[in-house]
């Protein structure tokens, strides 16, 4: 083969390769010289672009004026009341947050036999224990914020409002384990004793007798 043909063949091959390799290039506009979350830094000694807060500063929207709301204490004692009225929405939020952050250890019913405890973590006291049933709401807020014994603080993962919502839900859990027939609204009591399902929102017997939707009762993971 003449060298000219060779050279041409090589050229075509090189062009083909370049064509195939081109999309693999990641250039300047893909990785712009700016800080984005989690991108390291060569400027700061600790290698992080996210800077720690300067000691003694308070971020916007971070309230430290309302001691009951932020510390769970009133006059230095654990609060006996919630900083705001407990609503159904707050309980539902608390339910969801409890299942995310507390149920791995305390389990969904609060008896202290969660999955992580099954794998060897220290078993916490059941929330239905007499001592804990007597604790004021501020106690639960305080434990979530500051930890207790070997349990770590959840302040970094759970914001203040959610901590109160969880405290309210823990109270609801405690009541649920000690409910009596007298807690059922008078107008529904007969229906309840006959074994009819009551609507959780209204407390009245369900209109249609269909069994509760089994799908919603799943644990969230297969």
């Amino acid at each position: 083969m003449s060298s000219r043909v060779m050279a041409r063949a090589l050229g075509v091959a090189a062009f083909g390769l370049a064509l195939v390799a081109a999309p693999g290039c990641r250039q300047d506009m893909h990785d712009q010289p700016k800080y984005v979350p989690y991108r390291g830094s060569r400027f700061f000694k600790d290698g992080r672009s996210a800077r720690p807060r300067i000691p003694g500063t308070v971020s916007r929207g971070e309230r430290d004026d309302d001691t009951l709301l932020v510390t769970g204490k009133a006059d230095g004692k654990l609060a006996e009341v919630f900083p705001e009225p407990v609503t159904l929405a707050m309980l539902e939020r608390g339910h969801q947050r409890f299942d995310i952050f507390c149920s791995p250890c305390h389990d969904r019913a609060g008896t202290g036999q969660g999955m992580i405890v099954m794998r060897g973590y220290k078993q916490p006291t059941s929330f239905h224990d007499e001592r804990l049933r007597g604790m004021p709401p501020g106690y639960f807020f305080d434990v979530i914020s500051n930890g207790f014994g070997v349990m770590p603080s959840y302040a970094a993962q759970v914001p203040v409002a959610d901590r109160w919502a969880i405290a309210a839900y823990v109270r609801a859990l405690q009541l649920s384990q000690h409910a009596t027939v007298a807690d059922v609204p008078a107008e529904s009591r007969t229906a309840f004793l006959e074994g009819k399902t009551l609507d959780p929102k209204t407390g009245l017997p369900m209109q249609d007798a269909a069994p509760p939707d089994g799908r919603a009762a799943g644990s969230g993971h297969e």
Partner: protein
């Protein structure tokens, strides 16, 4: 009158006609094939890194934590509902449990070292959109797009990998017809969710209506 014969002697053999034709159409075919090949390479995991499990400084397993232990995604990825970034958990989050559990496992030494010295664990990014693309988790979560739809069965992964290409056509494929993917808001964090009666399209259309889901395809939605 007789036939006037061309004066010019015939330089090319007749077969040249065929060769010329083959060359012209052949070139078209070669270009088309090259284009097709390019498109294939461009979508392959070689370019997108989809499907490749990434080595990490600690062999953290979602299968173990999210799957078998059933820990909710939000326990670790705390900001996924409220911000653009889902967030990678700080070392403290691991230590919540690993101060007590498997507290002397050699696999967890980098976690303990990070806790002692306050240096970050150098997790390797699995997903990495180009800097000229704007993406936001919170809107997708709020409108009922499941983690699974974009990230696949995370709860089955030992080492984490990227499930989808993250290319523009992938984003647009959903933004054009989201009814094929949306789910009820309370099912977003669940892995392995199926539409209750198997009819995703009917349910999807209802959900678009109920949650007012209207993803845009204007360029400035994602390039701002």
């Amino acid at each position: 009158m007789g036939i006037i014969r061309p004066r010019v002697p015939q330089v090319f053999h007749r077969s040249t006609n065929t060769i010329a034709r083959v060359t012209i159409f052949g070139a078209l075919i070669v270009v088309a094939a090259a284009g097709y090949g390019l498109a294939l390479v461009n979508r392959s995991s070689y370019v997108t890194t989809a499907g490749l499990a990434i080595e990490q400084p600690v062999p953290f397993s979602h299968r173990h934590h999210a799957g078998e232990l059933g820990i909710d995604c939000r326990y670790c990825h705390t900001s996924v509902e409220i911000s653009a970034k889902a967030g990678i958990p700080p070392t403290q989050t691991c230590m919540n449990c690993h101060k007590q559990i498997w507290s002397d496992s050699p696999m967890l030494e980098p976690v303990r070292a990070s806790f002692r010295t306050d240096a970050s664990i150098p997790w390797v990014k699995v997903h990495d959109l180009p800097d000229f693309v704007y993406f936001n988790h919170s809107i997708h979560i709020a409108k009922g797009v499941g983690c699974e739809t974009c990230h696949g069965r995370i709860d089955h992964m030992n080492l984490t990998w990227q499930q989808n290409s993250l290319q523009m056509e992938w984003c647009l494929e959903c933004h054009r017809r989201p009814e094929r993917y949306v789910r009820p808001k309370e099912e977003v964090f669940k892995m392995g969710w199926q539409p209750p009666n198997g009819d995703q399209l009917a349910l999807g259309r209802e959900l678009l209506e109920a949650n007012r889901v209207h993803p845009k395809t204007d360029c400035d939605t994602c390039h701002r």
